[in-house]
């Protein structure tokens, strides 16, 4: 299909604001008389507060308020950023208080100080006197499930948050009748989002008595609901404003700081209070990605046909549920529309421990399960003596596949082409043939992995998006959405959709990038790679309503029927002749100023999207392994994506580059470490936590296979989270190819790799002579 704007790498709308430093983020707003909020955190992984004395802190000059759990409503609330569910059985776990009544991890917030400045607030924290009754704690999911383990939340005496699984077919029968049954254990570490902007909010009580929270969030409308719930306020008494945000990656799809910021302001009689976490606090008291242990058992025919799979997942969600229950569940749904298993049994278990809270992070459980599954498939291919690509090609689903559980239908499936393109790009056959047997200290290997992902959350959750368009007098339009630009470029993509439908140049489409829950249409926000797909449908619908109204006015002016005209390049054109009949400005001026018929052209609509589209892709990677030091380096990497129509190729490439880089950190470098005895974090800063720097990051290659998915706007599917899924198993499989050593845990950092090489005999222990 021929488009004017869709499919073009137009400049992102906020580029100038960001490159000149004029884009304002939450911390860039200053209110007069603004106070600073700071938090007292537990030094213990699990402890009851037997006494807390704030008198000395309150007496410090410059301190405006000191609050503890006793000063706040005892309302337990859920923090996960999901639309509210009218079905009580489908709600998130309500296990949180604004300030903890009992410390459940090192860093749990138990008291807060509001003061005139940061130094006074810090000083006051030291003056709060807490008497702790230290309780036994658990850090691993296995320990937490043992008989007699310390109980972290009274309502879950066995520490299991959720163990709701799914199955179809008869897995046991497939296992019994199979030529081969393969089993494998895989494990992933805890990582953190590391958006460069901190987690931050400021709150005040407005002149109308309402609580206003300005926050760096992906989900303003949901924040409003949760702040109101946590404080026991009617939802309309809270207003949330989201300005520019410095990255989110899922961490800001959770409500971490806003209820406390609001509570701080209320304690300070409504004065503005800023609550901005330090980097060290971001690591321990926002969210992390779940560490998971996965056991896979797969029935396979001797020809390599996958028959049935049994997946057991143990997910460590830390001290509070957050998204935990939902993530373990969601992870199990993504591989089914990729490989054609006759039977699947998926058994997740999400467990509380005394670690910082795990939540949503780019991929939402999918990076973990695909690390396990794609590693497992390479292990199987090796056992069967098959090429790993051949094994996968043999087991792919086909277009038209319907998932027996979600009922989602696959309408576009570009995987075979992604594989072909990736193999060609990295010269798979040629390089593999050239590698042969290696036994030197530096070895090369090639690896690949596939993934599947969804576009939004249907049918699990509501997918509602709002869009509002107002046409101005000159024929330009202003678009408002409740969906949030968080750096991914969604505002630009929405503007492209509007420009395409209305025949406008990009500079005549304005997008209000700030969300204000009083003003912005309702939308659940930036997560699940949903916005281009779900919000895009709403935006296109709004634009088409505007187009229809324009054509009605044009029909009134010209006597032609609306269906005889179309919009092109700021003009109304008689379609059959390509003849301009009037300009868009003529129409807009009529709509504003015609003495008889004036009615400005607007649309205020929403889409309740009850359909999903699966996105796909593949990673192809070449690694260099230094056997003597355990260092794995990526020498070439390709991510090839089927995300349907690519609305803005340059922005799409940016998503892939960033996602791959994040995934390489996951595969090779990053992990949060905790002291095994005390549960104290050991590397909660950007120096000791190994976030990839420029020198750790290879050149990253992005490629696309453009399919057309009828469900999305102009055929588009999801992309945001997709690139983060398959690189880790591809790297792991490349190391296997290079060395013959199968790793079962990421990250593959030099120490772990070195130790495994020793264990497997790749590195010989030299005999040491003592003298």
């Amino acid at each position: 299909m021929d488009h004017n704007v869709v499919g073009k790498s137009v400049r992102r709308l906020d580029a100038i604001a960001k490159v000149t430093g004029r884009a304002k983020y939450t911390d860039d707003f200053h209110e007069r008389d603004m106070l600073v909020g700071k938090v007292l955190r537990s030094p213990h992984a699990h402890a009851r507060i037997t006494r807390i004395d704030t008198a000395k802190a309150k007496a410090l000059p410059g301190v405006v308020a000191v609050i503890t759990a006793a000063d706040l409503p005892t309302i337990r609330f859920a923090t996960a950023g999901h639309p509210w569910s009218l079905d009580p059985g489908h709600r998130d776990v309500e296990d949180r208080l604004i300030l903890a009544d009992k410390a459940r991890f090192v860093g749990d917030a138990v008291a807060a100080v509001v003061a005139e400045d940061a130094l006074t607030a810090e000083k006051a924290l030291h003056l709060i006197d807490v008497e702790w009754e230290v309780l036994p704690h658990v850090l691993t999911a296995e320990d937490a499930m043992k008989e007699g383990a310390p109980v972290i939340h009274e309502f879950r005496p066995n520490n299991v948050v959720s163990s709701f699984g799914v199955q179809f077919g008869d897995v046991e029968a497939e296992m019994a009748g199979a030529d081969h049954v393969f089993e494998g254990d895989y494990e992933t570490g805890i990582v953190q989002h590391c958006h460069i902007e901190s987690m931050s909010a400021f709150a005040y009580v407005d002149t109308d008595g309402r609580v206003v929270v300005n926050s760096s969030t992906q989900i303003p409308h949901i924040v409003r609901r949760i702040v109101a719930q946590a404080l026991g306020l009617p939802w309309g008494r809270v207003k949330v404003i989201k300005p520019y945000i410095g990255g989110g990656f899922g961490n800001k799809q959770d409500v971490c700081v806003e209820p406390l910021a609001a509570a701080m302001s209320l304690a300070a009689h409504g004065r503005p209070v800023r609550y901005c976490l330090t980097r060290e606090e971001v690591f321990i008291d926002t969210r992390t990605r779940h560490a998971m242990k996965l056991h896979l058992k797969t029935a396979v025919s001797r020809e390599g046909v996958l028959k049935g799979i049994h997946v057991q997942v143990l997910s460590n969600t830390g001290a509070y549920a957050s998204h935990g229950h939902s993530i373990a569940m969601s992870a199990g749904g993504k591989f089914r529309p990729l490989y054609d298993f006759k039977a699947v049994k998926y058994e997740p278990k999400t467990v509380y421990t005394n670690l910082p809270v795990a939540g949503a992070m780019r991929g939402y459980g999918t990076p973990q399960i695909f690390f396990a599954l794609e590693s497992h498939l390479d292990d199987i291919a090796r056992k069967l003596g098959m090429d790993p690509v051949e094994l996968r090609l043999k087991n792919l689903i086909k277009v038209g596949h319907q998932d027996p559980l979600t009922r989602n239908v696959v309408r576009s499936f570009g995987i075979p082409e992604c594989i072909r393109k990736g193999m060609e790009a990295i010269r798979w056959e040629e390089k593999r043939a050239a590698l042969g047997a290696q036994d030197g200290p530096r070895r090369k290997g090639l690896g690949m992995a596939l993934f599947a992902y969804a576009s939004g959350t249907h049918p699990v959750a509501l997918e509602l998006a709002g869009a509002r368009i107002v046409m101005n007098q000159d024929g330009s339009v202003t678009l408002q959405v409740g969906a949030t630009e968080i750096g991914q470029g969604s505002d630009t993509v929405f503007a492209q959709i509007v420009a395409e439908v209305l025949g406008l140049p990009m500079d005549m489409v304005n997008v209000m990038t700030t969300q204000d829950t009083d003003v912005s249409p309702w939308d659940s926000g930036a997560y699940a790679s949903r916005q281009t797909f779900v919000t895009g449908i709403a935006v296109r619908k709004a634009a088409m309503e505007v187009r229809d109204k324009v054509l009605e006015v044009a029909a009134r002016r010209t006597g032609l029927r609306p269906d005889e005209m179309e919009l092109r390049d700021r003009r109304v054109v008689e379609a059959a002749l390509g003849r301009e009949v009037c300009t868009l400005e003529d129409v807009a001026m009529d709509a504003y100023y015609d003495r008889l018929l004036a009615a400005p052209i607007t649309s205020d609509t929403s889409a309740n999207v009850r359909i999903n589209a699966m996105s796909y892709g593949a990673t192809f990677v070449e690694v260099d392994v230094d056997v003597e030091t355990g260092k794995v380096e990526v020498s070439e990497i390709w991510n090839v994506h089927d995300s349907g129509t690519i609305i803005n190729p340059r922005l799409a490439e940016g998503q892939v580059h960033g996602g791959v880089s994040m995934a390489l950190g996951y595969a090779l470098l990053e992990q949060m470490l905790f002291d095994a005895q005390t549960g104290k974090p050991l590397n909660n800063n950007l120096l000791d936590y190994k976030l990839p720097t420029l020198l750790d990051t290879p050149e990253i290659n992005a490629a696309f296979v453009e399919t057309f998915d009828a469900a999305g706007s102009f055929g588009a599917k999801s992309l945001g989270e997709c690139p983060v899924i398959s690189p880790a198993p591809a790297v792991r499989n490349a190391v296997l190819d290079a060395t013959g050593v199968a790793f079962h845990r990421i990250p593959l950092y030099p120490q772990a790799v070195f130790e495994k090489f020793r264990e497997t005999g790749l590195i010989k222990q030299r005999s040491v002579e003592h003298v």
């Binding site: 992102r12 580029a15 490159v19 430093g21 983020y25 460069i196 520019y244 490439e653 996602g659 420029l694």
Partner: protein, 158 residues
């Protein structure tokens, strides 16, 4: 309190500051140069980079008092008469911007490279900019933008 006299983006300032204040705090909180970003406050991420007499420095770990008599440049000072600097233009054109939080610091470090008049290989560009953390871009288009700006400056000089 002590007096601090320095210039920011060519404009002279005379301030009374607390000896403990960082340059980042003075620039952001007192002078409202909010293009200077705080990402970690301890010199790990590079988001707060400013040019001090032409040299990129993490302003979060640089005492404001040390800036006495110095010439500071922030991202707000790069565009002249409403026109983007060539480095800013390169970042926009190459798509090197996503969330934008690391952008001001990276633009300033790239500006220092361009102004040095030296030439850099792609590997050297990567090394020069490696004090900046970015979580959105995988650095790919940032390196592209820096190379483009350096290339254009070289062509302009020839």
């Amino acid at each position: 309190m002590r007096k601090l006299s320095f210039t920011v983006n060519g404009k002279a300032h005379l301030l009374e500051i607390d000896a403990r204040e960082s340059l980042l705090e003075v620039l952001r909180d007192r002078l409202e140069y909010t293009g200077v970003k705080q990402g970690c406050a301890v010199g790990e991420c590079g988001a707060c980079t400013v040019l001090i007499d032409g040299t990129p420095v993490n302003s979060c770990i640089y005492l404001a008092a040390w800036a006495e008599g110095k010439d500071i440049r922030t991202v707000e000072g790069l565009a002249v008469d409403g026109r983007l600097s060539p480095v800013q233009e390169a970042f926009v054109e190459e798509g090197a911007i996503q969330c934008g939080f690391c952008t001001p610091g990276l633009v300033l470090s790239t500006t220092a490279m361009v102004e040095s008049g030296r030439t850099f290989t792609r590997d050297e560009v990567r090394r020069e900019l490696s004090g900046h953390l970015c979580r959105c871009t995988g650095y790919q288009k940032i390196v592209d933008a820096a190379e483009r700006a350096l290339q254009e400056a070289k062509q302009g000089a020839e």
